[in-house]
Symmetry: C2
């Protein structure tokens, strides 16, 4: 690992820093718009999972690979007409809604391999705005074509039902989290959640960079910036994590799990 993405010394896995020099050896640039589903390094997590080669090729045909997004750019905005769902190829996004009084509220974060836009399926309008948290790339999947293809490919239909079911189950877990967890429990749970999501895309689960601000985390967890900051320093003092700006290292993942388990 002589060049490219920084590596985590303990696991040997890359951490989610944006490659400073060129792409690392044997790894295509994740922002490359000409990559196909078949050769995408995320195809074991994303829509292609459970499809065979011919089927992946058919999916490939309907996927549009858009130009990369700069930090702060919007993929779409609240109330825009629903047209597509999107798979994150690289980077990360947040979803948020604006309340009547104008201030936003973060409703979710999206990492590579995750699907954006399913909240718009029913009402035909997106319920959230989606903003890039860093330089990021997505694959656009026009929903009407996805439906048509799902109708031809039972595997795809089955898998998309599963993806939506997963989103539902995940949202209900957050419900419980917000209802009955303390600030510390929420924060610990958030970090563990990020950890396993990074692990899923073969990044280090114990060392990563937060793509979002403390404010974003606070809005997402129903806490204030100040509280999130205080909890981070408290967890650090206890020796469970190490925080340096956006860089998080999980030092004692079991103790971190205990915080939630004790609930």
């Amino acid at each position: 690992m002589s060049t490219g993405a920084q590596a985590d010394k303990t696991t040997g896995l890359a951490i989610n820093r944006i490659a400073s020099a060129g792409p690392a050896r044997d790894q295509v640039c994740p922002h490359n718009t000409s990559i196909s589903c078949a050769s995408c390094r995320l195809n074991e997590l994303c829509l292609p999972i459970a499809l065979n080669k011919t089927e992946i090729h058919q999916l490939d045909e309907i996927v549009e690979r858009n130009r990369p997004f700069k930090k702060g750019e919007h993929l779409y905005r609240q109330n825009d007409p629903f047209k597509s769902v999107y798979a994150v190829r690289a980077g990360s996004f947040k979803s948020y809604v604006l309340s009547d009084s104008g201030q936003g509220r973060v409703t979710g974060f999206y990492l590579p391999g995750e699907i954006i836009g399913m909240d718009g399926i029913a009402s035909k309008h997106y319920a959230n705005s989606i903003q890039a948290l860093e330089h990021a790339s997505i694959c656009e999947i026009p929903f009407s074509q996805l439906e048509k293809l799902s109708h031809q490919l039972p595997n795809l239909q089955h898998h998309f039902f599963a993806i939506m079911g997963n989103e539902i189950a995940k949202d209900q877990q957050i419900h419980t989290l917000l209802c009955s967890y303390t600030a510390e429990e929420r924060t610990a749970s958030f970090l563990l959640g990020l950890s396993s999501r990074y692990a899923r895309v073969a990044l280090s689960p114990v060392r990563f960079l937060l793509p979002m601000t403390r404010g974003d985390i606070g809005e997402y967890l129903g806490l204030t910036v100040e509280t999130v900051s205080r909890i981070f320093t408290a967890l650090q003092r206890k020796g469970l994590i190490s925080v340096k700006n956006r860089e998080i290292e999980i030092l004692d993942i079991d103790k971190l799990r205990e915080i939630i388990g004790s609930h």
Copy 2:
């Protein structure tokens, strides 16, 4: 309206009290297990929506109409293997999870025409337990058959995607609710939500019986029983609602909406 369900004097719509004598005139008993999808009074809201007559008949073939549930009975429990989704035909259910420490947390309420069980699709195990809040009936739809049929009927596939998308959008609204609303705002929002869900099934939106306890509401909204009780009396003192045990009457729906709107 000489017999059967009580009526709301202001709207003429029935309220959701369980019929004390026999079934009301020109209305079949909603607990009748032999009713078909085509003749079900909920077919404008439930799965059959967007299907034509032939298609409804095909759906009918796979739907199993189980015996009614008594108050407190379970439809299924957390971690049971996922097999079916269910449509509430009559009565109401709550979903809840048990935390490690043993105490439960209510994650949702289900009224007639609503679909239960989608949280199990992805993991193949139900994430919640489902319990009848009163005498209640459901239609069971074995999921593998629903998938097969969806594959034959594009309308059904489209509609089930929409139902799941709706669940996702709804769950995200609750996220925002729990993150940034006060106890009063949550409670007002909850009552308005129930109101429109009752309106959807042609019951009075301004006068209804709560099928759940204050404790259930509290767990669902992330509040304690005491707080829910206090908010109810406060809203009553302000003249926005009238509460008598489980019976709620919304006296000033606009003012109730303002409580949330002011946010």
